[in-house]
């Protein structure tokens, strides 16, 4: 066990963990941030995405020791302090872009990162940005519409 200081959603947390523990489990079990989901543990499905210094990355294989100097944002941290939704969240709600919603964490996080980089992406750019994230319900068409809408909010 080692002590780590993590900066998550603007707050600093001091915690004990095995240095190899993937960030996902630290977020979920020690910080009670259940937004990022376990989907495959192999960076193949995107359910566990978080923003590391603004970049959307899978957290399921990323050792906690590699992110202790980074700024981490989870889906819970996208709202403003006053509880106002991020444009991407708002657009997903308006478009009702989910069925079971288990993949939504990865979709929302990827979309936030995309729009930071490309404020008005075209269809192809959105598809590329979301390609790492799997959805099984077939909500893709709605998710694409939601990201396009978010770009206009």
């Amino acid at each position: 066990m080692k002590t780590f200081v993590l900066k998550v959603n603007g707050q600093t947390h001091t915690l004990e963990a095995d240095a190899d523990t993937p960030l996902l489990y630290v977020l979920r079990n020690q910080l009670q941030l259940n937004g990022p989901k376990y989907g495959c543990g192999m960076q193949q499905c995107g359910a566990c995405m978080v923003l590391i210094n603004g970049v959307a990355q899978a957290s399921c294989m990323m050792p906690v020791s590699s992110v202790d100097t980074s700024s981490i944002t989870t889906i819970e941290g996208l709202e403003t302090k006053k509880g106002k939704m991020h444009a991407v969240q708002e657009a997903f709600v308006i478009e009702q872009a989910a069925q079971c919603g288990f993949c939504l964490n990865g979709m929302v996080i990827s979309a936030v990162a995309l729009l930071q980089e490309i404020p008005s992406p075209d269809d192809e750019q959105i598809r590329i940005a979301l390609d790492r994230s799997l959805c099984r319900c077939g909500s893709h068409a709605r998710i694409l519409r939601a990201v396009k809408r978010a770009a206009k909010i």
Partner: protein, 720 residues
């Protein structure tokens, strides 16, 4: 067509009578509404379905589960509608053996047909009772009262009582009468509209709670290690090695069931890895391989039954014949199955995303030898399941682990590999069809489907739970499951005077169970591909050819509507549009689908560019719910049709993750468009499984239009 004509349809393995064509709405409504939903007949009391809370709001109990279909919103709409409440005043409790009615499984697109309709009647009955009680208390005639937002008031608005004041701490316990007055559909404010689901906003901020997210004080984490193949048994475990590798609480072992429990989840994962290395398993005989699978399945012994016969087949030979193949496919939930279990003071409590908490309780009770009264199972949503995945199995395994470590909550998370390798797959199917035609119409049709069963849900049977096979408690190998699923939609919904339909059922090499639409996807793929082949052979337009064989006006309407929607010109070389139609179970929702594909001239790789669906799901409860299910149904079926096939070799499945079992990603997802034909005066028909069959066939038919190549074996892009 005669208005009284009845067509007899095979549905759910039982002979039922479906009405079609020309029956006046009023007569139809009467026949529908004098018959209470089965769920309500089993739980006839109003307070089984709803109760009034102290603040005047209403709590509704459904025995069904939220699987991503939006059941909470749809049921709240129905309850709020009958009680003239704001939808936010209605809360929904999902399936829980301690709280809700037993509604069996959340399956077969029955959530709206059963649960929502039961709630409609119960809410209408509650309304009558509340008005009656208020009338006595206010000393006014019921006609002089109105209801809104949880209160009953006099017409002049001067006197007002909330539901909770009226009941004064009691609940409405009367039985629901079949003749209860339902609200006039003309006055609907909520039902039929696209009311947004409020759970989606919680999903977008990470606060929606899945079973995977449950956290209890002192909760411990578990993982299980499984045999390298279905038939292997555990010979030895080097427990000391595991203990040196991880900080664990205990190793649980019984027979070939072996798992680890640790305080930290990561420690449980490390222990699982070490355990994998330290288990020795017996050898397991050869079963077959993906490459040899159609031939292997053809030679398996099968029990045969005649599913349907009409007229007489006189021909000795057929002008047209074809054979189609659908491989084993996966449910492929994005979140591997998970459960939490607590065994304390002799009582067992499970939290699960099972589709049927009551039948699971019965099966678990038998497996662990604890009376059902001492077991509570609480449904908590999971990742979408699309049928019987690992949900029941992981709950049963969590129960075993918790019983071995009483007093604390034990959380068992399956790995991606657990889910991919051990979920019960949708069965492989071989469909063969032959036909003769005269004057452009089909005169004779012989169809056979060869398949394994399509449901081995626990249904109270312990041996259908995966872990039971690992235990030394005398549970036999699972018995054959529900065979009717194999021939779901095996009978064409077309006017063909002489028909025979056969089913040949084998016991295949892989674990199988219910996957969304059961055999309907494979059967409709075959029937609708063959219809397209017959249209092409007789040089007929594929829409007109189908319309010439359809007599149900609602079927005709969806096909005609699709024809209006879909562009006619197919001008781009290498591209084509194909269509298909079916009525799910031949008794539920009508759906016609068109697909536009591009076929690479050199490689023949198929890309689906756009899909259209027209659906008639009877009375619509939530319009966006029907659209969402249909969009998703088409996209999921496009993935099945193009890419999916469970791979196995020798004695084991080799599709152990998304790398070896890829599903469609954003770069390949087609544009989708859905049009709903509302039928407010008709019965509610579930919409969750209507699109898959026609979607698959429409894609194959589009490939033919684009390239002249008739693809009869799924998946279409198997070589890529």
């Amino acid at each position: 067509m005669k208005s009284s004509r009845r067509i007899f349809l095979k549905s759910a393995g039982l002979l039922t009578i479906g009405f079609c064509a020309g029956i006046p709405n009023s007569a139809k409504s009467a026949s529908v509404f004098n018959e209470l939903p089965e769920s309500l007949k089993r739980h006839p009391n109003i307070n089984a379905w709803l109760e009034v809370l102290a603040n005047g709001n209403v709590r509704v109990f459904t025995g069904k589960m939220e699987l991503g279909q939006g059941i909470r919103t749809a049921i709240a709409q129905v309850a709020a509608e009958e009680l003239d409440m704001n939808i936010n005043q209605v809360e929904i409790v999902l399936a829980d053996t301690a709280r809700t009615p037993d509604e069996g499984y959340t399956a077969g697109s029955g959530s709206m047909e059963q649960s929502a309709m039961a709630v409609r009647y119960a809410a209408a009955a509650a309304r009558e009772k509340l008005l009656q009680l208020a009338s006595a208390k206010m000393n006014l005639s019921p006609a002089g009262l109105s209801m809104s937002n949880g209160t009953v008031q006099s017409r002049d608005g001067k006197r007002k009582m909330s539901f909770s004041d009226i009941l004064n701490g009691r609940q409405v316990t009367d039985k629901v009468d079949a003749n209860v007055n339902l609200k006039s559909k003309a006055n609907y404010q909520l039902v039929g509209k696209a009311i947004p689901r409020d759970d989606i906003s919680q999903m977008t901020n990470g606060r929606y709670e899945y079973v995977h997210d449950l956290r209890f004080p002192g909760m411990v984490h578990a993982r299980v290690v499984r045999p390298p193949s279905y038939g292997a048994s555990l010979e030895s475990v080097d427990e000391n090695y595991v203990r040196t590798k991880a900080d664990l609480i205990k190793i649980v072992r019984e027979g070939s069931f072996v798992g680890v429990i640790a305080n930290e989840e990561y420690a449980a994962m490390q222990a699982q890895q070490a355990l994998r290395w330290s288990c020795k398993w017996s050898a397991d005989p050869f079963r077959g391989s993906t490459e040899s699978i159609p031939a292997y399945l053809e030679q398996l012994p099968a029990s045969s039954e005649k599913v349907h016969e009409q007229g007489r087949i006189a021909a000795q030979s057929f002008q047209h014949s074809a054979k189609y193949f659908k491989p084993y496919i996966m449910h492929g939930s994005i979140g591997p199955s998970c459960a939490v279990a607590l065994f304390k003071d002799g009582n067992l409590h499970l939290w699960t995303h099972s589709q049927g908490v009551f039948p699971l309780r019965e099966a678990v009770s038998r497996m662990v030898g604890i009376d059902e009264e001492k077991i509570r199972i609480t449904g908590v949503p999971g990742s979408g399941c699309y049928g019987h995945n690992g949900a029941d199995d992981v709950a049963a395994e969590a129960a075993l682990l918790a019983i071995s470590f009483p007093g604390v909550h034990v959380r068992l998370q399956w790995t991606r590999e657990d889910e991919h390798l051990w979920e019960p797959y949708g069965s492989a199917m071989i469909m063969q069809v032959s036909a003769n035609m005269q004057n452009g119409l089909i005169t004779e049709w012989v169809y056979s489907v060869r398949s394994d069963n399509h449901s081995t849900r626990p249904g109270g049977k312990a041996n259908n739970l995966l872990p039971s096979r690992y235990l030394d408690r005398g549970f036999d190998a699972p018995a054959g499951g529900y065979s009717g699923g194999a021939y779901r939609n095996s009978q064409p919904y077309y006017r063909i005077p002489n028909q025979q339909v056969y089913a040949h059922l084998f016991r295949g090499p892989l674990r199988v169970s219910a996957l969304r639409s059961l055999g309907a996807y494979g059967n409709i793929f075959a029937i609708e591909s063959f219809m397209d082949e017959l249209a092409a052979a007789s040089k007929q337009d594929p829409y007109l050819f189908r319309l010439n064989h359809l007599e149900d006006p609602r079927a005709v309407e969806v096909v005609k509507k699709l024809r209006e929607l879909v562009p006619k010109a197919e001008t781009i070389r290498g591209e084509g549009i194909g269509i298909a139609f079916s009525r799910y179970k031949n008794s539920a929702a009508y759906c016609a689908v068109a697909a536009q594909v591009a076929v690479d001239e050199k490689t023949r790789k198929v890309k689906v560019k756009k899909m259209w669906a027209v659906i008639d799901a009877g009375e619509v409860i939530n319009l966006d719910g029907v659209i969402n299910q249909t969009e998703g149904g088409m996209i999921q079926a496009a993935s099945w049709t193009l890419m999916e096939q469970v791979q196995f070799s020798g004695n084991k499945v080799t599709s152990d993750g998304w790398g070896s079992y890829p599903i469609m990603r954003f770069s390949d997802v087609p544009e989708v468009y859905v049009e709903v034909i509302p039928q407010p005066e008709q019965e509610v028909l579930g919409a969750g499984e209507a699109a898959q069959g026609p979607a698959g066939a429409a894609i194959a038919n589009a490939v033919y239009r684009a390239s002249g190549i008739r693809m009869r074996d799924l998946p279409l892009n198997k070589n890529f």
